[in-house]
Amino acid sequence: MPAPMPSAPTIDPPQRSATAAFLAGFGAAWLSVMAYVLIGTYIGLAALAHDFGFSLWWLAASTVLVWAGPAQVILVSALGAGAAPIEVAIAVSLSSVRLLPMVISLLPLIKQPQTRNRDLLLPAHLTAVSMWIEALRLLPPLPREHRIPFANGLGLSFLLAAQIGGGIGYYLATSLPPLLSAALLFLTPMSFLISTTRNCRLLSDWLALVFGLMLGPLLAFWQVGLDLLWTGMVGGSLAYGIYRLREARR
């Protein structure tokens, strides 16, 4: 558990407390399982990139620019296999739809009425499943003016963890044994499921989790186009609707 933020004394200059909040976020990342999950996941991704002949610098740049594991897997394997660029772009974009509701449900937690758009660019770019899950858990107790630097510190720390994993994976180089690579792939669903469960507070959170778990594979199995988009829209709206109906009855 990260140490609670000290209540800012009034004499504390704002700049200093922003730096402290950034460092608190940077440190909090390493107390989260997500930092280690990212290292493991990016070891696997780097092994894949190495197999397809991408340089370590290219992989590192893709982690900074794309910063979304599934999109990077698609990018590496599809470009590596020589797919048409437009097809790759569409596949990447479809895999990243989840970032939209995540950014929408993160930014209102960190912005203030006077926050400038450009101060939200970095937290929006750093939004990925790992950062989103932990930000939702760690931000609410913090004073609002500390939340943007904290989120930036958290996200950049996770990005660093991914780069460390990428470096390790690239230098291990030789294709990973299947057992290890399967175990690394399993890190994502296992850690995401537990971390999301830990974050569930409202009835709508729980229902959205259960509906999503059921709809995701069903729609994919029936080969419904844009399956994850529908999973989110249908599962999320149902969960929200049921929660609202129950609240209204009270």
């Binding site: 399982v33 340089s55 290219w58 740049a61 794309v66 999109a71 990018l75 470009l79 660029p85 990447v92 974009s93 739809v97 989840r98 970032l99 939209l100 509701p101 950014v103 929408i104 449900s105 209102p108 758009n117 939200l120 929006a124 770019h125 499943v129 989103w132 299947p178 057992l179 690579s181 399967a182 175990a183 792939l185 399993f186 994502t188 669903p189 296992m190 850690s191 995401f192 499921l193 537990i194 830990r198 569930c200 959170d205 959205a208 989790l209 509906f211 999503g212 778990l213 059921m214 709809l215 995701g216 594979p217 994919a220 399956d227 994850l228 989110g232 599962g235 999320g236 709206s237 969960a239």
Partner: protein, 112 residues
């Protein structure tokens, strides 16, 4: 060297831009939304449902070498990890380690 440059141009055009568009759209939409609003609550539910869908899809229709591990072992490992999380003071680390151990032992026993 031009091949190398080509790879970076492709990275920006077919990796960065089609991915980043969702974040920037989110930034625009979130502009007028506050934490108490109904739209925020709905977006949160949608985000959780999408993430849950991603999780279940990876377990049921796994990518790469994970597909070589039988479904029963994958589901058993997820269940054991989840129970360990609940049993050990809601520790995420305990849950992930337990799930990984069960998956690895199961895969070994199956002969992977």
């Amino acid at each position: 060297m031009s091949g190398e440059l080509h790879a970076y141009v492709l990275l920006v055009l077919v990796g960065f831009l089609p991915n980043e568009i969702w974040r920037m759209l989110g930034l625009v939409v979130a502009r007028g939304i506050d934490e108490e609003s109904e739209f925020f609550m709905w977006a949160r539910a949608v985000a959780i449902a999408v993430l849950a869908g991603v999780i279940a899809k990876i377990v049921m229709l796994p990518p790469g070498t994970l597909a070589g591990v039988p479904l029963g072992i994958r589901l058993g490992a997820i269940a054991c990890g989840f129970v360990a999380f609940l049993a050990v003071r809601r520790s995420v680390f305990a849950g992930v380690i337990a799930g990984e151990v069960v998956l690895t032992l199961g895969a070994l026993a199956y002969g992977i």
